[in-house]
Subunit: 410 residues, 2 copies
C-alpha cells in the first residue's frame, strides 16, 4: 500500500494530471493499493486568496478556509475522472468526507484524528482513493486548512493511519539536495537523509517538504520518499530512521537557509524568572511563529532577549512588543531588522566531530560576513546574517564542507 502525494505543479493542468494518472496506473498495475493525495492546481490557491482579499482587507480565517479548500476539491474530482478514463476504479474524498478532524485554528489547523475506515473499504474493493490534501474539518464541522504545504502532512497522516508501506511525495524537484541548486549549481541530490536532518533542513527553508509532514512521518515511522513528478525514473531521496554506516562518513549533509527571517531584540530586560514567557506569550497568542530564540547571560541584572519570526509577521510582532510588552516588563526598548537571513549547516555527523562550528565561522569571516546571531542544536548550527550576503554564505559553506565533491554525501 502506497500513498502518493502530488503537489500543485504536478497537477497544474489537465495534461499534467494525465501524467499523474499514468503513474498511478503503472503502480496500480504492479498490484499496489494506492491512495493519491493532491494539492490545488498551481496558481489556484493564489487566485482564491486574491478574490478573498478583494472582498475583505484581512480575510476572515474561517471564510478564507471555506474558499481556499475548494482548490483541492476540484483536483480530487479531476484526478478521479482521469483514473476512470484509464479504466481504473477511483473515488475522491474531501478532508471532511475522510473525516480528517483538526483543531479550529483556521488557516493553520492541526490534524487530531483520521477515520480511515471508508478508505480501507474502498481499497479492498479495488478503488484508487483520491484524497484532498491540505484540509480537514473541526469538531463543529467547519472546514479548516492546514496551512501552505499542508498537503504533505495530509499524505503522511493518511499513510500513518493506514500503515502504508511508503509515502511518496512527488514534487518539482527530484529529491533533497545538499543545498538549493538555484544558489549553488554544484549542489547534489542525497540518496538518503535522516529524519532529524530532514527536520532541520525543512524547517530551515529547504522547502522540499513541510516540517510538520516530516515530524508526523518520524513520529509514526512512515517511510517517506521525495521524488520528481516530471521524471519517469529515479529513486529520489529516502528519508530514513536509522543512521547507517555511510552517514558517519559525511559530517555535513547540507546547507539550509531561509531568506524570510526577521530578527527582533528586546533590550534591557530585567534578568529574572518568567521574563521569556512574558515576552513570547503575547507573540504566541497572536499566532506568530517564532523560530530562533537567543538569550545571553545577563549583566547587572539586565539582559537582551532576541528571536526571529517570519518576515511577514515582523510588523505584527513589533507592534505587540512595543504596545503590550515593553512597558509591562520594564524593558528599555525594542529593535528589529527584517533584512536578515538565516544559514545553517546540518548533519548528524557533527555529533561526533569537533570543529564544525569554528570551520563555519572562519569561512564566513574570510568573506567578511558578520554573524548577528548564533544558535545550535545537536545536528545543526544556524547563523543570522545580513540578507545581502545570503547567496555568498551558502556557496562558500557548501564548498568548505566538501559538498561539491562528486561522492555520495550522505
Amino acid at each position: 500500500m502506497i500513498v502518493q502525494k502530488y503537489g500543485g505543479t504536478s497537477v497544474g493542468s489537465p495534461e499534467r494530471i494525465k501524467n499523474v494518472v499514468r503513474r498511478v496506473a503503472k503502480y496500480n498495475a504492479l498490484g499496489h493499493q494506492i491512495i493519491v493525495v493532491v494539492s490545488a492546481m498551481s496558481g489556484e490557491t493564489n487566485r482564491l486568496i486574491g478574490l478573498a482579499k478583494e472582498m475583505q482587507a484581512q480575510p476572515d480565517p474561517r471564510e478564507l478556509d471555506m474558499v481556499v479548500s475548494t482548490g483541492e476539491q476540484v483536483t480530487v474530482g479531476l484526478v478521479s475522472m482521469g483514473l476512470m478514463q484509464e479504466g481504473l476504479k477511483a473515488k475522491s474524498y474531501t478532508g471532511a468526507q475522510v473525516k480528517i478532524i483538526t483543531d479550529s485554528a483556521f488557516t493553520k489547523a492541526r490534524i487530531l484524528s483520521i477515520d480511515e475506515q471508508n478508505i480501507r473499504a474502498d481499497l479492498a474493493n479495488g478503488y484508487v482513493v483520491v484524497v484532498a490534501g491540505f484540509q480537514g474539518i473541526d469538531k463543529e464541522g467547519n472546514i479548516t486548512t492546514l496551512g501552505r504545504g499542508g498537503s504533505d502532512t495530509t499524505g503522511v497522516a493518511i499513510a500513518a493511519a493506514l500503515h502504508a508501506d511508503e509515502c511518496q511525495i512527488y514534487t518539482d524537484v527530484d529529491g533533497v539536495y545538499t543545498t538549493d541548486p538555484r544558489v549553488v549549481p554544484e549542489a547534489r541530490r542525497l540518496k538518503t537523509i535522516t529524519f532529524e536532518e530532514m527536520l532541520e533542513m525543512a524547517s530551515l527553508g529547504s522547502k522540499v517538504l513541510q516540517i510538520r509532514a516530516v515530524e508526523f512521518a518520524g513520529k509514526y515511522k512512515v517511510k517517506l520518499r521525495v521524488l520528481s513528478s516530471f521524471e519517469e525514473e529515479g529513486d529520489g531521496t529516502l528519508i530514513t530512521f536509522e543512521e547507517d554506516e555511510k552517514m558517519e562518513q559525511a559530517i555535513i549533509s547540507g546547507i539550509a537557509f531561509n531568506r524570510d527571517e526577521a530578527k527582533i531584540t528586546v533590550r534591557g530586560v530585567p534578568d529574572k524568572p518568567g521574563i521569556a514567557y512574558q515576552i513570547l506569550g503575547p507573540i504566541s497568542e497572536a499566532n506568530v511563529d517564532v523560530d530562533m530564540i537567543i538569550q545571553n547571560v545577563g549583566v547587572d541584572g539586565s539582559t537582551d532577549f532576541s528571536f526571529t519570526v517570519h518576515r511577514n509577521e515582523f510588523d505584527k510582532a513589533m507592534d505587540i512588543l512595543k504596545n503590550q510588552v515593553q512597558n509591562h516588563i520594564g524593558a528599555r526598548n525594542v529593535v528589529g531588522d527584517n533584512k536578515t537571513a538565516k544559514v545553517s549547516v546540518v548533519g548528524v555527523g557533527m555529533r561526533s566531530h569537533v570543529g564544525i562550528a569554528s570551520k563555519m565561522f572562519r569561512t564566513l569571516a574570510e568573506e567578511g560576513i558578520n554573524i548577528q546571531m548564533i544558535s545550535t542544536s545537536e545536528i545543526k548550527i544556524s547563523v543570522v546574517i545580513d540578507e545581502k550576503y545570503l547567496e555568498l554564505a551558502v556557496r562558500v559553506l557548501h564548498k568548505a564542507f566538501d559538498l561539491d565533491l562528486d561522492q555520495e554525501p550522505a
Copy 2:
C-alpha cells in the same frame, strides 16, 4: 425573515458581490433576519465542467458534483467576507454543512430534508447566514448537486424550512414577463402571477425560475418574488397563491416557449395496456426527462406514441428506443426530430373562457405555421412546431392575445 437568492450573474465578480453585500446590509439595517443563498460566479460552473471534460469524455456524475460544487462554496466565503468588511456578522455554509440531505441522483439530486437548527441559532445571534445553493449531500456523505438552476430550489427549500416571510430571487431580469423581451420587445412585466401560471411558464422555458423551486414554493406556501439584482428600485413580480379579481380580467398571462425540444414518435405500437410504461420506463431509468406525451386513439389495434425530450438527450433516448424497446414491444419503427420548438399560451383566465385554443390555432395558421403536436392543461395550451418558426409564432401570439397593450395584464 427573508431569504435572498442571488444567481451567478449577480455574484459574477468581486464588484458585483459588493453590490449584493450593500443590498443585504440595507435589508439588515431595516431589522430583517437574512439568509443569503448564492450560485457560483457566472462562468465558473462552465469552467469546471470544461476541466472535467478534459479529464473524462463522460465525466463521472459523482466526481462531477465533487468538482462543480466548489463554485458555490467559493461564493459563500466571498459574500461572507464582504459582509464582514461592511461590519456585519456573517457565516457561510456549504450544502453539506447545513445538512441539505438529498437523494443520490448525482447532477440532478432532489432535496429530502434540511436541518435548519444551525441557521436558526446563527440568525438569533445576529449573523447573516450565507448558504451555498445548488448542492447537498446524500445519506452516505457524498456531495450532490441539484442540477442547473438548483440554487433557486435551495433558496425556496430553506425559506420553507425556516418559515421565512419571503423568498426573493434576484436575477438579471426584473420580473416575469408576458414573454421573452428578446423575442418580443413589447413584452411587459407582470406585477403578479399565480403559482400555477408560473409553473407552466417556468417549465415551458421562461427560465426565470427553476420549475422545482416554484413547485417547492407552492407546496410549502413560500411567498416568492423575482427581482433584478441590478436595479435599486422595483418590486419585481410576486408569485401569488390566490387568483384575485384583476386576474380574471386577463385571459392569458404570457407566451412561453422552449427552443430545446426534440420530438420522438414510436410508430405502429400495439394498442394494449402497459405499452406506455414499456416505452417510457427505460427512458426514465436512463434519467431522461420527458416533457409532452401524446398518444392518440388507435386504429386497427395499433397506435403512434409520441413524446418530447430535451434536445441534449435526443440521441440517448433514440438509442434506447431503437435498441431496447422497439423489438421488445413489436413497434414498427422509431422516428424523431430535434429541430422542433414548443410554444404555449398560459393563463388561469382561460379556464372560464372558451375559444382560446381556436384563436391560437387560427393565429398560427394565418402565418402558415404547421402544428406538429398539441397538448393542453387547465391553464395552458402547448404546440410543437418547426423551430424556424419559433420567434414568429411567439410574436403573433403575443399580439393576438393583446399582451402588447399597455395595461396591467395580470
